[in-house]
Amino acid sequence: MVAIASRHRSLVLLAIVVVVQVMALAIQIQHTGTEGDNRSLMRSWSIGLISPFERAGAWGVGKVRGTWRHYFALSDAAHENERLKQENDALKLEITQLRGKASEADRLSRLLNFRESQAKVPMIGARVIAASPDANSAVIYIDRGSRDGIRKNMGVITADGVVGKVIESFSNTAQVLLLTDRESGVGAMIEESRIQSPVRGLGEPLISMSYVSNDDEVKVGEHVVTSGTDRIFPRDLPVGTIVDVKQGPPPFKYIRLRPSAQLEKLEEVIVLLTMDPLALKKPAESSEAAAPSSPASTDAPAKPAAGKRTQEPAARTAEKPQ
């Protein structure tokens, strides 16, 4: 037996290493199920080892890019200046038009108390310093961590829309699970019809809206926003635009969305610094603010609301996309 083992030493070593890892894998799966907050020491060490290089790299790229833009890439500055002046005039005109629309939007959003609830949400900006080295997982690392108040399950957004949520927070770094990851999900609703359904990642650029009944009317081009039911994101943040709708196997439709945020090219993000349920108005309060509206989603627990409709005639016409 010993002779066989010594003759096939590398094969025995291979078997031992693989078996140990299989057992470690099994233990981790068990731990993930029972103690979701557990984190392996090795994972922390690896992050601690690699993230300084990534931070330095991100800093270096930023400096080089800044130097290039500000000192070297000025050959077309005069032409660009002319173009910008023209663009400025056009934008002034546009601003005048938008002011009119903005005042209308302000008035309507006040009706739903949306603005106030947003203002209460503390946020922090962060720079993306790395992506997952595993092509199968949609994960990024940001240069802010627990020292900056970032905790697990906090929402991450950009000005364009929802990005994902924090899944691990280290001292100076945090790991963010993107909306496109197959384990990702967000409480959402179709902006126009207010039909609610969770949106889930598929491990590909498009995301899926899973629980909309075949009887509901959904059109390509409609916008999907957060519903607030997941208690991570405030309501009405853009999630995506519907790009494909088919009758699915009963009872739900096959719906695919393109995420609003450019998840494949993220450089800076905003982290919502709260884990408490957002101060969303209860239906009674909302109805005081916006006469006949009744936002049914506000404090409901996050769960698949198959084909659930929230009929809000006034709210539907009142709310505007951000």
Binding site: L25, I29, A58, P133, D181
Partner: protein
């Protein structure tokens, strides 16, 4: 006389290559950092699996199954640590690839670019197969065995490998 020595299996002439001190550690860390950092600015680079290419290269060059599998284990576990995957998914797959690469490296002359291209493509597909097998058996994730993206990724990685290995050859002790 240098630190390389020859193996003779039948009529074949197989060299075991050694590297300058710290090369393996440096190249491994660099591969992991580049793999994590560059796709932030160039998302399409994410199709590359540099840690796998490094595992294959050092396996083929060192031609010692024990070293190959242990290096594969280390690289795989580091990659697991930086991903959200359970520790061991890439650890196991790269352990097996490291072992297979160094075993084959000890039997074949793998210095020709065509041989390297074919071996990298084969190992890439094998690595994917092992990952999918583990995901299906242990993690209950029904990952597809084959996708068009996999075929493209295998092709791209193999092409990159030929160039990358050419430069890594320069780090060998002469």
């Amino acid at each position: 006389m240098n630190d390389t020595f020859d193996l003779r299996i039948g009529e074949s002439h197989i060299e075991v290559h050694k590297f300058r001190g710290g090369t393996i550690l440096f190249v491994t860390l660099a591969a992991l950092i580049v793999q994590a950092f560059v796709p932030v600015y160039f998302p399409k680079v994410g199709i590359l699996d540099l840690p796998l290419l490094i595992t294959i290269y050092f396996g083929l060059s060192r031609r010692n199954p024990s070293t190959g599998l242990l290096l594969g284990t280390a690289i795989g576990l580091l990659q697991d640590s930086l991903s959200k995957t359970p520790l061991g998914l890439f650890g196991i797959s790269k352990t097996l690839i490291g072992y297979a690469a160094s075993s084959i490296g000890g039997k074949l002359d793998t210095e020709h670019p065509a041989a390297r291209f074919a071996l990298t493509a084969t190992f890439f597909a094998l690595h994917h197969g092992i990952v999918v097998l583990i995901q299906r058996l242990l993690l209950a994730h029904a990952e597809p065995w084959f996708t068009t993206r996999l075929a493209i990724a295998a092709l791209v990685n193999s092409l990159v490998a030929v160039v990358l290995y050419f430069f890594l050859d320069r780090l060998r002790r002469s």
